[in-house]
């Protein structure tokens, strides 16, 4: 069970996605850039040329951060690191797959919905 300290400080959202999604979400005001020596951003723009390693690294970093409550990730990006998302079962931060402009949302691929289906044996 989650101890209160594990989610009390989680104030931010993070996003990994294509440029349009990230821009839109940043316009909504979720972006947060820390200043200082090791400046971090809570968003990552992924295009088809981005290496998988980079996405994986960003995913690991963002899930390891203690101030992020929700990690939004485009479904087509999630598809590229699917094994990592399927393995990720922690409650915090919550990983949420979202649709993007070019890739409509497919409930069949969603890790959480897959778990729902598995639990109810459908």
């Amino acid at each position: 069970m989650a101890a209160p300290s594990s989610y009390k400080d989680r104030n931010f959202l993070a996003v990994i996605g294509d440029e349009d999604t990230v821009t839109g979400l940043l316009l909504a005001g979720i972006g947060h850039v820390t200043t200082g020596a090791n400046a971090t951003r809570n968003f990552l723009v992924v295009d088809p040329k981005t290496e998988i390693e980079k996405v994986e690294k960003a995913f690991d970093e963002m899930t390891a951060r203690k101030d992020i409550g929700i990690l939004l990730i485009n479904q087509h990006v999630a598809e590229r690191i699917r094994y990592k998302i399927d393995m990720y079962t922690a409650a915090f931060p919550a990983v949420l797959e979202i649709p993007s402009k070019d890739h409509p949302y497919d409930p069949e691929k969603d890790s959480v919905l897959k778990r729902v289906k598995k639990l109810f044996g459908e």
Partner: protein
């Protein structure tokens, strides 16, 4: 599952029988309580999964609208604003805080979004043209993110509930299939041992009584024999003339032995 092997290592005494009976009662109470808890959680869990399903579909629509409004912005500003937006980000305006909800003793966190009004990183975005579209796009995306936050809290609740239900069900199964049969076996074992002891005790008493009776009979027979011999000796003694001890014995008892 059953059998003589599966029981607790106790001495078959009345005291441990009492302890085992109390334990069985406790296990049964705990089992029914946990079962009820599991049912309550499962009910909640089903509701949440249903809402997740709905919210996921709703999210698809909302994100579509949001993407369309971003396309409008791109058209209105006449170029990509992505780079400018990404570079002007400083601090989050849209934040979340989490609160707790208690479901049958399980703390479920729920996210709540709030907007800090003081900072505005995109004051200059769309300054040249398309400012109105940018503003509209921000509103639409704000609403979309609210939906996402709602969905995220549902999903977190789902993950936590999933774990908790698994644990509770495991406990229920453990009590039902391990602890209760084992305690019952132990009680059975203690009872049979106690019965066995009872029978043994009875048999022992019977034996002791028999032995005593036998010993008594033998002693009687011995005494009788002795008496007979002594009687003969007394006779001999009377014959020899020293009648004093023979007389005493003859006077006391066993007159029938003397002719």
């Amino acid at each position: 599952m059953s059998g003589a092997g599966n029981r607790e290592a106790v001495f078959p005494t009345r005291q441990s029988l009492g302890i085992m009976k109390a334990k069985l009662k406790g296990a049964e109470t705990g089992h029914s309580l946990l079962k009820r808890k599991s049912e309550a959680l499962t009910k909640r869990f089903r509701e949440i999964t249903r809402r997740i399903d709905e919210a996921k579909r709703k999210m698809g629509r909302v994100m579509q609208i949001a993407a369309f409004s971003l396309a409008e912005v791109t058209y209105a500003t006449g170029g990509q604003i992505g780079y400018q937006v990404q570079e002007s980000v400083k601090a989050a305006r849209f934040r979340i805080r989490s609160k707790q909800e208690n479901v049958s003793g399980v703390q479920l966190p729920a996210f709540e979004s709030y907007i800090t009004e003081e900072n505005n990183d995109f004051g200059l975005t769309g300054l040249g043209r398309g400012g109105q579209q940018v503003q509209k796009c921000r509103d639409v995306y704000g609403k979309a993110v609210e939906t996402l936050v709602e969905l995220a809290s549902l999903q977190t609740a789902f993950v936590i509930l999933d774990d908790v239900i698994k644990i509770v069900n495991r406990r229920v199964a453990a009590i039902e299939h391990v602890i209760i049969p084992r305690t019952e076996n132990t009680i059975k074992y203690i009872n049979s041992e106690l019965d066995e002891l009872d029978r043994e005790e009875f048999y022992r008493l019977k034996k002791v009584k028999n032995n005593k009776k036998k010993a008594l009979d033998e002693a009687d027979a011995e005494r009788a024999k002795l008496k007979e011999q002594e009687g003969e000796e007394g006779e001999q003694l009377t014959i020899t003339g020293s009648d004093e001890p023979a007389d005493i014995l003859a006077d006391e008892e066993e007159k029938d032995v003397i002719f």
